[in-house]
Symmetry: C2
Subunit: 355 residues, 2 copies
Amino acid sequence: MTAADSTRTFDLPIAVDAMGGDRGPEVVVEGVLDAIENYGGKFLIVGNRKFLYDAMSARGASGHPDITIIHAEDVITMEDSPVDAVRDKTHSSLVLAAREVREGRAAALISPGNTGAVLAAGTLLLGRIRGVERPGIATILPTATDHSVLIDVGANVDSRATHLLQFGIMGSIYARAILSIADPRVGLLSIGEERTKGNELTKEAFPLFERLFAESAHHGRFLGNVEGRDIVNGRADVIVCDGFTGNVVLKFGEGLAFTFIDLIRSRIKATPLRKLGALLVRGAFAEMKKKIDYTEYGGAPLLGVKHPCIICHGSSGPKAIMNAVRVTREALQFDICGRIERTIKTFNEESRNAS
Amino acid sequence: MTAADSTRTFDLPIAVDAMGGDRGPEVVVEGVLDAIENYGGKFLIVGNRKFLYDAMSARGASGHPDITIIHAEDVITMEDSPVDAVRDKTHSSLVLAAREVREGRAAALISPGNTGAVLAAGTLLLGRIRGVERPGIATILPTATDHSVLIDVGANVDSRATHLLQFGIMGSIYARAILSIADPRVGLLSIGEERTKGNELTKEAFPLFERLFAESAHHGRFLGNVEGRDIVNGRADVIVCDGFTGNVVLKFGEGLAFTFIDLIRSRIKATPLRKLGALLVRGAFAEMKKKIDYTEYGGAPLLGVKHPCIICHGSSGPKAIMNAVRVTREALQFDICGRIERTIKTFNEESRNAS
């Protein structure tokens, strides 16, 4: 099956790996049940049969008509070596869930497990879309005005200029699907706005972006180089970088946001008067926390594989799982994988004709 | 003159480029006068004579005994191409100030001008310390517990493993001098803690760090790889990365902090009750702002050149200049340049003997 068939698969269930996360299968079951309540849909939950039955009945949902449980004897842990584990642990919940998708019995894969293993399962079992050189992980970040898409945040460590270009194409499609931005502004992350600023990689990528976006407005607008501050100030909708830089930025941002909240929380309670003030403004903090809370964004998709593959944070709770389902449904509705396949195909044909 | 002589130069004045910043020579004069009041010391202020005399007399400081004004006809602007400007604009305030240091009439250079040009002046005019492959820019960041040093934040775009190792040595010396940390914890910025995680560069650098720190506790303790979150959570005192990644991180952090403050400020005034609360907690915000305010940290030194060379933010005001003077004085007192020279020399000799 190719990605282009995925529109036909929207009535198929979504396969969810329930075992790989830090918080066990109960939170995954809970998240899926919440998702069914809010969005509907059918699910295959893959994991230890006993744990899953127990979790279902604890929620009074034994024999739920929209959930099929698939037993998996094994689990890939956070300590497992990703590629080895996906190859060797053939009875793990992740591998079985991915196989349901690969063999056409499910439309998409969600896992809160070992990120490297989900990446390996996505690439090796779901399969790369033809013409995509390297799949990339996209993530949504809050900005001053709205949200932006950062791609790649860690699927690859050493990238080439053509990989960055494809991240730009895929990120732009994702921004249209999930953020509903008709004409995304795409920036190449660098250390100065001039085209001559950057490292070897970005300097090589810059003219490729320029040519692509000049030839077809279809991909959005190319802003040229953007800088670190532009990731959050609302200037760009899609920010493209290599996976090393993106991963550092993502984890730094998480760390900074939480450090910031901790610091302000301790200072805001330093005197009795401030404590009273803190009580009055706590709603503002709750809103801020929601804005920077990754669980609101529902996981990060691996773009460039044949079916939606959503990588959730290892510590995902029910809300993160539920939001991952929402994102997965949007990805299916928008036919992201099919669009990526067609766009990359056209792009590659045009590139061949031009050269 | 070699860096080792710099201890003898502590009674020499500090040369300050007054013209290159965004906010004109007045704020530089003001910052220097504030620094003299707080810390003492002698200064050469380099720039347009008339502007500087006017600024001095506006502060009632005409003919101040600790300030010598050196006239410069030209100025390097933010738009100038750095290396060309340093080579061609021989009568610019930056080049003349750097020449005062190079020719032994001043002990250190401070400039809020074009960062690339200050970098070029530092490397070309002050000169690299023998044995240092690439100078690197260090910056101090606030963390949950205290502060950390991030190096390199943009002196280089494409680095080699041996450059990173030298950044580690220099950053460790800087942390001891400015943060008074006797035994700095040094981390290599990567995307996973295991030694096998990272890009080609960090994977090559990891064993170099391991060997160096195992052989000599003198450099501090090597934490191995650290991740983006560790830049701010207080786990590491010195975080080493290539200048591309460091520059992106620095600008992203600035952007995120200000976006964060803007967001919370707008939410905290959303209702009348919250406005009252905001009034009560405003002290907490002022403390936070101070903590993340770059002007408190007094500019970023270019480490690896023969004399202290402090690069200030282009929009530096009097306080940032004053703090840059404080940092410069600490760098001189601790003899950072001499220590870097001796440490790198010993390190290079040991490396040669080992191979």
